[in-house]
Symmetry: C2
Subunit: 341 residues, 2 copies
């Protein structure tokens, strides 16, 4: 009898195995997006499972189940279970989102690794923005406008160090100004960060705009967004409809999922017939060379990412292989001796 | 900073915490079904993720993701990842199905337990058949016909010890006759088991018929199924259509999922308009007292179970609480000190 062994990796193990290596995460996302564009990925829609407060309506927490099979050279199935909790925000002692990733052997059907996915989620989310910037930012981008100095703010700055190393100004704002200052200090000497007072000041006229807040209502005005810019929305609904409507090009990670998500900024535009499926390009098609990237310096490009399980699994697979090479993690056995029955 | 702790339970831990206690599993299933009938469960459809052989078509393995939120007194979210592999069958060194169950804290959104779900799956599957037998078998059932002496065959015999303790004959057959004999010997003194040659001999005229094979094509003939009997199909497609059509009553665990499953014995009948949604009763409605159980001694009842994530989570929650009480399992920390970012 074979005993299936599962490698458990804590966040510290994930870090020791290269979890904070943004250059690798960017490579991973180029791979994940290319495979997605080439149709090598079988990824059912995410399943949202909300838990409400006692009133039966208010959002208390949610679990999002994200299964995927990644083909091509990866050949790995897995699932991310992404949980979110307002209680964590209220108490401030745990992150809003806590994730685990499980990797499976596709021949033998048992799990081979269970790891913290919280850090992987932050890294891959910003690496996707980084890849979008590589393909869609205007040539010689000089000014970047950022809104949000939380976890994703940090990983996004890390990604910018790689994809826009010669940027002249990075404007950063956050409702919690000291948090923005602390974050800027971390990147002193690596990025020319300037703290600004509000989203408008950050985004107005920037070559690349990136919003990554927990806001569930739009706050970005269309007039802030310059011609020729790339606008990357990391949350689902941060921009007023006109930001999307005035864009010359609409790119997303996966339109199939975004177009069906009730909380997406695209939803009201779709319902009014102002946006049509055929106007949208999945970023994977661009990375796979099946659709063009930026076509002119003048076009406004709007990019929206919903997050895809294939991103998590490609990163997790690299971490798992690296952890095995270095003997990291804690091996678990699904059963010790033999299947009992 | 809080450090989320996850209790890992191997199959041995699950057993030590009462995983093989069928009386408890039957109680669990009464609870799970009642909550299902009362609408206290939020259970999205299972997601099937097939992995094919190199030809791109033949079934190699599959992963089934089953997320659920169980309300009422349970208040637990979780997910079962059920994997199946033909390679395991070919090599014979691992079970066809290997499952893990993850339990989540619905306030704080982090996992609290990860455990072997392989044994739980077998126990809850047969406990559901047991509960169906309690509510739907003819009064004073004397003869039970079983087909299949595998893992589910064993747990089903265990369930029969509880729900039909006075049965006079249990006929058992399996394509692998020695396997059936070994299993019968295990229950010597507890159940009057008689090994028979084939499915027809086992099922013909029995008060309760239970089929639990890996067959993907129907082999049960309608003429074998007596008036007044309960027929419980544990796999999805073991009976010819007439077995369903001649039944006076159709009961299932969850019609929503069965009616959409392409491999179900109901599918061709639905497509031909021979079965209609309003003829079907979910077992949970019966357990919750919102629909009658067996109405007459004469009616033929056909019961089909697809398997529901809420069943796994209710068992897993009991195991988890018991494991905590007895200090079982291996505690894992999602991060050691503090969230890194």
């Amino acid at each position: 009898m074979t005993v299936p062994e599962i490698l458990f990796l804590s966040q510290e193990d994930v870090i020791a195995a290269g979890g904070l290596d943004m250059a690798k995460a960017l490579e991973d996302m180029e791979l994940a997006l290319r495979l997605h564009g080439e149709g090598e990925i079988n990824m059912p829609p995410k399943i949202f499972l909300p838990f409400t407060e006692a009133d039966g309506e208010s959002f208390r927490a949610a679990a999002i189940t994200m299964p995927v099979y990644v083909g091509g050279p990866v050949q790995r199935a897995g699932v991310k279970w992404a949980a979110e909790s307002m209680e964590n925000v209220r108490r401030g002692d745990l992150p809003y989102g806590i994730d685990i990733v499980v990797l499976h052997d596709v021949d033998r059907a048992h799990p081979v690794a269970i790891m913290d996915g919280t850090l992987i989620t932050a890294m891959r989310t910003s690496a996707i923005t980084g890849v979008a910037t590589r393909y869609l930012a205007p040539p010689e981008s000089r000014v970047v406008g950022l809104v949000g100095a939380g976890v994703i703010g940090r990983t996004t700055l890390e990604a910018l160090c790689h994809v826009l190393p010669d940027v002249e100004e990075v404007r950063l704002c956050d409702l919690d100004r000291p948090r923005a200052q602390t974050l800027a200090a971390e990147f002193a000497g690596r990025l020319p960060i300037r703290i600004v007072d509000d989203a408008g000041t950050s985004l107005r006229g920037a070559d690349v705009c990136i919003t990554m807040t927990t806001s569930r209502t739009p706050y970005v005005q269309a007039e802030w967004v310059a011609p020729g810019s790339l606008f990357a929305q990391v949350a689902a609904n941060e921009v007023e409809g006109e930001v999307i409507l005035q864009a010359d090009r609409l790119v997303v990670d996966e339109w199939e999922q975004i177009s069906h998500y009730s909380g997406s900024a695209f939803r009201p535009l779709l319902e009014k017939g102002q946006v049509h499926d055929e106007e949208i390009t999945n970023l994977g098609k661009i990375v796979a060379g099946e659709a063009p990237g930026r076509r002119t310096p003048e076009e406004r490009i709007f990019f929206d990412s919903f997050g895809m399980a294939c991103e998590d699994i490609v990163v997790a697979e690299r971490i798992y292989q690296e952890a095995r090479r270095h003997g990291l993690g804690h091996p678990l056995r699904l059963w010790e001796l033999a299947w009992a029955m």
